[in-house]
């Protein structure tokens, strides 16, 4: 482990911002800390950077305990969401800053800074000041400045947040590519699930100061540990059912209105168990004929997004969100009555679950 965070707790007065948080990061790994606003992501990042003291717990870098060290002694670069480009220095001076304060030779600092400005396509603007630059350019300057600092670990705090939607999506792959090219270890904080899925080698889901799940993106999507994770990453339609029968490889569920659902799942849930079922929008198909595992209803609205037809489907009891890939031919129209066929679902034992609380996104 290159970075190890052990048992971190942080209190602001009586409020617990972080509660016994532990994880490790390998050298060269790109880890994303994902969670809603107020989950404690930024606090955790600032503790690793040394800008904040933990109430309890320790931070190790390369095996050394750095908890008692000041930020300037840690050689960890922190990139804030505002970029914090020094307004009174030119772009070149900003990028040279770290090398100069670390006592490198000025000519060397300049050479390195120019190299990174070249890499981020900003060399022509090196004498400009931050206030003269666009958001995307400032983001790249901040990145160049961080890279030129010669530190092996970078902490990105919502680095793409202040950018326009299109640019934000474009820069995801670029940022990851640069980190990988320079073999830099990154901890990246975001509340954007798509960003996390696209950029992370690993995702750590944080909620209310606690780690909920720490796994690969595919694992987070396929096997979310709690309904919160399922809802926050990927989302879907949630239903409450009760186990009618468990045959070992098939789970037969029934809801309060008598609707039945049969899932091919091997779980140990006993009969009568309350189950929270998550049906991903992309796991629903539409059908004109009645099929098993389907709810009857009406198509209320269809709209097109980048890869899907997104359909609001109204059953007798609820709205169902349905996604049909654009590559498929859609022979349904708004106002049509048809069947929504549930092809797959994730089940959570809801016996001790506060469902409303679990499905809150904030």
């Amino acid at each position: 482990m290159y970075i190890e965070v052990k048992g971190i707790q942080k209190k602001f007065g009586k409020k617990v911002a972080l509660d016994n948080v532990s994880f490790g990061v390998d050298k060269g790994e790109y880890v994303v800390l994902l969670g809603p606003t107020g989950a404690g992501k930024t606090t955790l990042l600032r503790i690793i950077a040394g800008l904040e003291n933990p109430t309890q717990g320790r931070v190790y870098v390369d095996g050394c305990d750095v908890t008692a060290l000041e930020p300037e002694e840690r050689n960890i670069t922190y990139l804030s969401q505002t970029y914090a480009l020094f307004p009174h220095m030119s772009i070149l001076e900003n990028v040279m800053f770290a090398r100069i304060v670390k006592g490198f030779d000025k000519a060397d600092a300049r050479k390195v800074a120019e190299e990174f400005l070249m890499l981020t396509h900003l060399i022509e603007r090196k004498n400009a000041y931050p206030a003269e630059m666009s958001g995307g350019m400032m983001q790249r300057v901040a990145l160049a400045r961080a890279l030129a600092s010669n530190s092996q670990l970078m902490l990105f705090d919502e680095p793409l947040r202040a950018l326009d939607a299109k640019l934000r999506i474009m820069l995801r792959s670029e940022l990851r590519k640069i980190a990988k090219d320079f073999k830099i270890t990154v901890i990246h904080v975001t509340h954007d699930e798509d960003e996390a899925m696209e950029m992370g080698d690993r995702i750590i889901v944080l909620r209310r100061g606690k780690i909920i799940q720490d796994a690969k993106p595919s694992e987070i999507y396929l096997n979310p540990k709690t309904p919160f994770v399922a809802n926050f990453v990927g989302g879907g339609n949630f239903f409450v059912f009760y186990v009618e029968k468990n045959t070992g490889n098939e789970l037969i569920l029934k809801d309060a209105h008598g609707r039945m659902l049969t899932l091919k799942k091997n779980t140990g849930m006993a009969e009568g168990t309350k189950v929270l079922v998550c049906v991903r929008a992309e796991h629903v198909a539409l059908s004109r004929e009645e099929v098993p595992n389907a709810f009857y209803g009406e198509i209320r609205h269809i709209h097109i997004t980048d890869r899907f037809y997104e359909i609001d489907f109204r059953t007798e009891r609820e709205y169902l969100h349905v996604k049909i890939p654009l590559v498929e031919k859609l022979d349904f129209e708004e106002g049509m009555q048809c069947w929504a066929h549930i092809r797959n679902a994730i089940c959570f034992d809801a016996t001790d679950l506060n469902i409303v609380d679990e499905l809150e996104v904030e």
Partner: protein, 562 residues
């Protein structure tokens, strides 16, 4: 690469450094301020036998304290009523010469009150001796109390205009548009929307004006000594003499009163208590009070008319010109028209006092810069929020305490350690007294500037490897330069300006005089022309300083607009 095994890490060094700064703050600012309480407490027997039992002294004191509070309250009400039109004009209107008017309004802030007081009294006072009454002066006021009120309005007015103006500028004008769209009259909009939003700024203005008025010593004493007899013997025998509490302390100091230290210590303590209580009450009350918006009043329709706006603008400017500016500048015409009278001026003493003043102001500023800036950084950025907040509140106390009481308290404190008869130590003690009351200004200005800008730049610099001193030199100083320089200039002017604390801290017969003290002495000796010339010199210095402030704030605007 990582040095985890050092005996004294960077964190420890920083803790020691901040500890030293806080220690300095406690020893040189807090303790001396509160020393009068200790002094009264430890000499309680002497207090009872010599001070509390002297009925005449106590009745004069309570009377003067009453007058002080009365003057402060009247002044603050007038300031609000007269300050609003001008502040509105400066905040919201665009017109030619606005910047010039803005600078003129600030002028009384930097002119030493002794000079201002002298000029204003010359302008208004009626029964001055015939030889100095000038035809160009108004000479219509013969009530000493009215002179004091006019004087206090003149030097507090800029504080009020500044605070209200800052408040109005902070109110997002779209709220007013929204109010107007719902059909509210212009005046109603201001009353129900603008005023409640800018209440905090108004409250700041009120507290500043009251604190200044309660604290003022030199000018009040000087003005009163020109129109009445302010010697202690005369005051204590006439039951309706006009005197403010700080002026009483000043007058008592030179009276040869038998138990002078006990009397002064006791009065300072009471005065400190009174000002703290008064200001805390006002602040508490002000924070609770709400502006009613149950109904609209018919008069608001009248006040909302366009024609009223010009009445308001003109009256605002007229008030400033007639009550503040002309009386304050009257001294110039006095010096010029009496140019022939300049025969017996003691230039040696004049320039010696000026030299001492500049030296004291310079040393005070130097000490303040070295200690107040780190403390402000600790308050604005420190990780121990509770300690920082406590320091922040404590740093306010010397600001609202009358400087003359502060001076007495400090004088009593330092007398235990140094001999103030010696010229060198006398200057040192004056400097320490000035540090005690200017220190909070620099801390406050800089700490609040720090709190307005998040620590992102400093955080970035630190994670990029910059050590604390480098962070200050390369990041904090360049970014906060305008407010640091403004704070430094403010400290320098306040020190140059101070009369009460300087007189209070030194023994009555001290040969060390700063220039405001020298002016007071000249006026007492009825050498009005020399006093006027000395005042004019101070005013010229003040104008130069004001222009420097303007230049530094202008570069701030340039920075933020880019």
């Amino acid at each position: 690469m990582l040095k985890t095994t050092r005996i004294l890490g960077l964190k420890q060094i920083k803790m020691v450094w901040y500890g030293l700064i806080i220690l300095f703050f406690i020893i040189f600012v807090c303790v001396p301020v509160l020393y009068s309480f200790v002094y009264v407490g430890t000499n309680w027997d002497a207090m009872q036998t010599h001070v509390l039992s002297d009925e005449r002294l106590m009745s004069v004191f309570w009377r003067s304290a009453g007058i002080s509070i009365f003057v402060a309250l009247i002044v603050v009400v007038v300031d609000i009523l007269a300050g609003f039109p001008l502040a509105w004009l400066l905040a919201r209107k665009k017109f030619r010469g606005k910047e010039f008017l803005d600078t003129l309004v600030d002028l009384p802030l930097v002119i030493p009150t002794a000079a201002l007081g002298f000029s204003i009294t010359l302008f208004w006072a009626h029964d001055l001796t015939a030889e100095i009454a000038r035809p160009s002066s108004l000479s219509i006021v013969s009530t000493p109390l009215l002179i004091v009120i006019l004087l206090h309005i003149a030097f507090t007015y800029p504080y009020m205009v500044r605070s209200i103006k800052a408040g109005i500028e902070e109110v997002d004008i779209t709220y007013e548009f929204a109010g107007a769209c719902f059909g509210a009259q212009r005046f109603t909009v201001v009353r129900t929307i603008t005023l409640p939003i800018m209440k905090a700024a108004l409250l700041t203005g009120i507290v500043l004006c009251i604190a200044r008025s309660l604290s003022e010593t030199g000018a009040t004493f000087l003005a009163l000594s020109m129109v009445t007899d302010v010697s202690y013997a005369s005051i204590s025998s006439s039951p309706d003499a006009t005197l403010t509490a700080p002026a009483l302390i000043n007058s008592l100091k030179n009276s040869g009163y038998a138990y002078i230290n006990e009397a002064l210590g006791f009065m300072s303590m009471l005065l400190i208590l009174i000002s703290i209580v008064l200001l805390v009450v006002i602040k508490q009350f002000g924070e609770r009070v709400r502006f009613p918006f149950r109904k609209t009043y018919r008069i608001e329709t009248v006040l909302s008319r366009v024609s009223f706006a010009s009445v308001r603008d003109v009256s605002g400017i007229l008030f400033f010109a007639l009550i503040v500016f002309l009386p304050g500048m009257f001294i110039i015409s006095f010096v010029i028209s009496d140019w022939g009278n300049r025969v017996n001026i003691d230039y040696w003493l004049l320039f010696k006092s000026l030299g001492i003043s500049l030296l004291v102001a310079f040393l005070t500023t130097l000490i303040c810069v070295c200690t107040a800036i780190p403390l402000a950084i600790y308050i604005g950025r420190g990780k121990h929020r509770k300690i920082a907040d406590l320091l922040d509140v404590t740093a306010n106390i010397p600001m609202i305490v009358p400087t003359v009481a502060l001076g007495i308290s400090l004088g009593l404190f330092w007398k235990n350690f140094v001999n103030t008869e010696n010229a060198f130590t006398a200057i040192l003690v004056v400097v320490l007294a000035h540090v005690a009351f200017t220190f909070p200004f620099l801390v406050r200005t800089f700490a609040s500037a720090l709190r307005q800008i998040p620590s992102d730049y400093e955080d970035a610099a630190r994670t990029l490897g910059a050590k604390p001193l480098t962070v200050f030199r390369k990041i904090i100083y360049p970014i906060f330069k305008p407010s640091i320089i403004a704070g430094i200039i403010m400290t320098f002017t306040r020190s140059l300006d101070e009369t009460g604390a300087t007189i209070a801290v030194l023994p009555a017969n001290s040969t060390i005089t700063t220039i405001p003290v020298y002016i007071v002495q000249l006026v007492k000796a009825k050498d009005y022309y020399s006093a006027a010339l000395a005042s004019l010199i101070l005013i010229v210095i003040a104008v130069i300083i004001l222009l420097l402030v303007r230049m530094s704030t202008r570069s701030e605007e340039k920075c933020t607009s880019k």
